[in-house]
């Protein structure tokens, strides 16, 4: 289906396929989470699942990127990522140095190869 103007039907479609499809997990999460104890093993297990999932997103975004990042060779992406990690450590665990430095390295490498 397509949406080209601001009609009621378009917003209803976004509400059903976007908002509700997303929020349902947050609502279930509140129902489950409010029964859990932070020190308990179920909480620890779900925390490990959430952590592994986000870590998985990281390698997926680097190994199988979308859009403009896909035009940069894998080796360059990995090298710039390692550079960002190194800057993070060098600048005493500064998130800004790691994120902005790594992105800058990638931009410079991508520009140099054009």
């Amino acid at each position: 289906m397509t949406l080209s103007e601001d009609g009621f039907g378009g917003y209803l479609a976004l509400l059903l396929a976007g908002t509700l499809a997303t929020q349902v997990w947050r609502w279930i999460g509140v129902a489950v989470g409010s029964r859990l104890d932070v020190g308990g093993e179920p909480f620890q297990w779900v925390r490990a699942v959430a952590t592994a999932l986000v870590a998985g997103m990281v390698t997926r975004m680097i190994a199988f990127p979308a859009g403009a990042l896909a035009a940069v060779p894998l080796g360059t992406r990995l090298a710039a990522f390692a550079g960002g990690l190194a800057l993070y450590v060098l600048f005493r665990r500064s998130l800004a140095a790691g994120v902005l430095g790594g992105a800058l390295l990638l931009a410079l490498a991508a520009q140099a190869m054009r």
Binding site: S4, E5, D6, Y11, A13, L14, L16, A17, G18, T19, A21, T22, Q23, V24, W25, R26, G29, V30, V32, G33, S34, L36, V38, E41, F43, Q44, W45, V46, R47, A48, V49, T51, A52, L53, V54, A55, G56, V58, T59, R60, M61, A63, P65, A66, G67, A68, L69, A71, A80, F81, L85, L95, A96, V99, G102, A103, L106, A107, A110, Q111
Partner: protein, 240 residues
Amino acid sequence: MATPPASTPRAAFALGLRGFLSVPAAVLFATALGFGALARDGGLTPGHVAFLCLTMFALPNQVVLVDQLARNETLAAAALAVTLAAMRLLPMTVTLVPLLRSGRRRPLAETVAAHFVAITTWIELNRRVGSLAPPVRLPYHLGLGLSLVATMLAGALAGYALSWRVPPPVTAALLFTTPLYFLLSLVATSRTRMDALAIALGCLLSPALHLAAPGFDLLATGLVGGSLAFLLGRAARRGP
């Protein structure tokens, strides 16, 4: 950068609201720019973009939805794809809501707080769990959530207006900030052997599972990697 102590709910809410001036907000803004441009290409109006930012507040899912609509998929197919992508919010919410609790149960406040659960707010709350006492975590989370919704809205509308006339190396660099921010923050907030194992296993498993089970790869990575990390971490804690 030293974190100012937030001892009252008001101070914690203000600390959260100032979140738009932070590295994670800059990363979110960069991603939202790309989403705005994508939405324009997909034929959405600025009103649609604002609606999605305000009611979904989950950029990866918004990208999936716009992509499905742009490919002329049916509404049911789009809803299914979004539902699958949004499942990652379940473990996030399950492990964030208990951290916000102090004393009596507040179902309404918890449901409002759940609206602001996203990877960024999950990471940021975990980063500050040590410095924020339980009673001020909920106001901090609500303030940060509002601040990041505004950041996402501004980024998406700016991306829509600019329609992304930016050189490819810059676009690539902006896309690159998200994985860097995610991994560095995971490392920064990891406290136990289980956390470190979950990060390592998640990173290693996902490329293989992406090829083996596309569509379900992230869920499989989370379940397999997380469960292994949990079991190995527990075995290590209990000793031989």
